[in-house]
Symmetry: C2
Subunit: 247 residues, 2 copies
């Protein structure tokens, strides 16, 4: 088991998630205080960042890479309950134990703060507390959106919903009008998709094939997806065309 490494360091001013993370509203002084107590960690794809039930002695933000939040039942059934993308916050101020497993799905860089100093700083810095509240409310909305997906959508709609989320996120990062074709790489294996969607990986595979056959998506290799017409995909997802979405 390979340990996380600590060799990186970035100035907050140069940080790629500066304007989206928990520090987004901080002024120069506040950033300096954060700079004092922060440190970086990197994890390799597949490494577990935090085990459910373990004591958490740090909180932090995802700087780059993707991680998942999952719950597991005794008999091994697992459900992903969150997808952590750059700028997302990990950990809960005011609680010691971790409630979920956090697993790096790609190589991952985290900006960490020891919990106690961070909590103290948060007490003195309303900008941080306020931004964290805002982010937590967004996550709660995302979780509730996902409850509709898990509870009421068919397998085909679930797959389309997931693809739509990933497609949207990528579209927001790259240029091109809303009617343009969207191309992206799935950051998740079929198994991880299944864990997110409350399906088996076989069902995921079958529905991916079906969406491909029906021309809703095109596939090159297993992971490279092209969406020729986003509105058709949204239709398949069963959403009213706008949809307030994850992250």
């Amino acid at each position: 088991m390979n340990a996380p490494s600590f060799n990186v360091h970035i100035k907050c001013g140069d940080c790629p998630i500066r304007h989206r993370a928990v520090c987004a509203r901080c002024d120069t002084d506040e950033l300096e205080a954060l700079e004092e107590i922060k440190y970086y960690r990197t994890y390799e794809a597949g490494q577990t960042v935090i085990w459910s039930g373990d004591k958490m002695n740090f909180v932090g933000s995802v700087v780059s890479g993707i991680a998942t939040l999952t719950q597991t039942m005794e008999d091994g059934r697992t459900q992903m309950v969150g997808l952590l993308l750059p700028s997302d916050f990990v950990g809960r101020p005011g609680r010691d134990g971790a409630a979920y497993d956090v697993v790096a799905k790609t190589d991952l860089t985290m900006c960490c703060f020891r919990k106690k100093p961070f909590e103290d700083l948060m007490g003195r810095t309303p900008h941080i507390a306020h931004r964290l509240l805002e982010m937590t409310l967004d996550e709660l909305d995302a979780a509730r959106e996902w409850m509709l997906v898990l509870g009421r959508k068919t397998a085909r709609e679930k797959i389309a919903s997931l693809l739509a989320i990933v497609a949207r996120r990528d579209a927001s990062l790259s240029p091109g009008g809303p009617t343009d074709r969207i191309v992206f790489d799935l950051p998740l294996t079929r198994e991880a998709m299944a864990d997110y969607l409350g399906l088996t990986l076989e069902t995921v595979s079958r529905q991916m094939s079906a969406l491909k056959k029906d021309g809703v998506i095109q596939l090159e290799g297993k992971r490279h997806v092209t969406v020729p017409d986003m509105s058709i995909l949204m239709d398949e997802a069963g959403d009213d065309s706008d949809g307030g979405y994850l992250v």
Copy 2:
């Protein structure tokens, strides 16, 4: 359609949810400021408190009664995404539109604040902001617990999980050791249970009958439930025996 009524008034000091709601950490001065801007509303069972998409001009706490938070797809499929019990907070500071329908399931009393004054007060009152963050984090945990239920549990486990939650809540309010039999009234119709669990009402009914036949629960009438042995119910729910739970 009968309008909500406004005729109640309670002093914050005498309020039954004083120590659990968003005002829980407020000192006397802060309570006075809240007292200034608050007002009560009551709704009858069945009334819709807020329509999804409507402009929200107030936020507030449930004082007594039960309400639900639901999402609906165009074709009518609905999923409950939250159960609002006394002390729970409704509304989102910093956002205008409501994201979900809020429906009173019993007669309901709410302690309301007009949104703008509340937001201003929150900016000046870290105790309120901090408590709201804490409550939102709890709700996020509850939503994620529920994602496991929706995504991975069988119909029987879902029913058992819901009964366990209601039983626990009632047990925490009334005396009796943890091994004692627990007796309570279901606050939800079969249909509301189905909406919560991502099932049909027929399946709910069948599984209730099955749990009754197997002696996991006893039923008098449709709603009055006795749990002879809580650990058996927990077993049926598929949880590891402790479980961090809703509310």
